[in-house]
């Protein structure tokens, strides 16, 4: 409780200690855990993307939201997209969220020309994905969404985001 109430940057120096007693070392380990937990929490983009999906669902809740005849985003699609985001590893790069004209919500990782990946989900829960993972390297397909994230999706995002 005390550790949670203290901002983590201030705890960081305390987690590195030369103390040798067992209790001092336990305390240092506990502080290391707390700072690591807070660091991960601070860099977790998933709440932001969830919030963005919430906004998209409101903006695109009526048909023709794009003025080109797009389908509306349904509540089911929104929930599916948020559930999908919750299961993505937080150490992946942060995606952009967008609405597709067929009423699905897509996540998009953009690292410039020839390095783009997208995955979309709709009411059915199936995840359609496509990506350009380097010049001339294409990958696309569909995976069922059954409460976990298919390995090929995670691998593809890691591949497309790898520095060249």
């Amino acid at each position: 409780m005390i550790a949670q109430a203290i901002s983590w940057p201030f705890l960081s120096p305390l987690s590195h200690t030369n103390a040798t007693s067992a209790s001092a070392q336990d305390l240092a380990e506990l502080l290391r855990d707390v700072t690591e937990h807070q660091r991960r929490k601070a860099s977790d983009w998933r709440p932001d993307v969830r919030a963005r999906i919430e906004e998209i669902a409101v903006e695109c809740s009526v048909r023709d939201w794009d003025n080109y005849g797009a389908q509306r985003i349904s509540e089911v699609t929104k929930h599916n997209a948020q559930a999908f985001v919750d299961l993505l590893p937080p150490d992946l790069p942060e995606p952009q969220a967008a609405a597709d004209p067929d009423g699905e919500i897509s996540l998009y990782w953009d690292f410039g020309p020839d390095r783009m990946f997208t995955a979309s989900i709709g009411e059915s829960g199936a995840i359609s994905y496509a990506g350009i993972l380097g010049k001339g390297v294409k990958r696309h397909g569909q995976e069922p969404f059954r409460g976990d994230v298919a390995k090929i999706l995670v691998d593809s995002v890691r591949e497309v985001s790898r520095p060249r």
Binding site: W65, D66, N67, Y68, D100, G131, G141
Partner: protein
């Protein structure tokens, strides 16, 4: 109606008086982008290219315009006059050449409706991931120009 208009001063300015029925691969085309989700960093988002389903024609299609022979200011004027409407505001335009469409296996159907320079990008697959893949490839080949207004 369009024939008469094409001979007016504005029609001639927009190059409608000598508009060829045939399109060559080197001709330019424009996709007007009317939603913020259609834009990505320095480029066109695939969402701005993904097709809508035309139930009358029973096919997926992406609306575009051939712009060969027009200068940039003429293309923008064309967009303001014929693409914008109440509630539809142009934000940018995606620019490409027709061969980048046809090289991906699409058809570029010049149909002149609802405007003489209108053309549909057709030949999209029914499977979503196939459409995403093609839209990504097309977006990867296109440039973007923001609305100068």
């Amino acid at each position: 109606m369009w024939l008469r208009f094409s001979l007016t001063r504005l029609g001639r300015f927009l190059g409608l008086d000598n508009l060829s029925v045939d399109v060559s691969g080197s001709d330019d085309f424009t996709r007007f982008l009317v939603h913020k989700g259609h834009l990505r960093r320095n480029g066109v988002h695939l969402s701005g290219l993904l097709p809508k389903y035309n139930e009358q024609k029973n096919r997926w299609e992406t609306s575009s315009h051939r712009t060969g022979g027009l200068r940039s200011e003429q293309i923008w004027l064309f967009g303001y006059l014929y693409v914008e409407s109440e509630g539809r505001h142009i934000r940018a335009r995606g620019i490409g050449v027709v061969s980048s469409v046809t090289d991906l296996g699409f058809g570029f159907e010049v149909n002149g409706k609802p405007y003489p320079r209108h053309a549909d990008i057709i030949g999209w697959h029914d499977e979503k991931h196939q459409r995403q893949m093609k839209a990504l490839e097309l977006a990867n080949r296109m440039q973007r120009e923001m609305d100068p207004r």
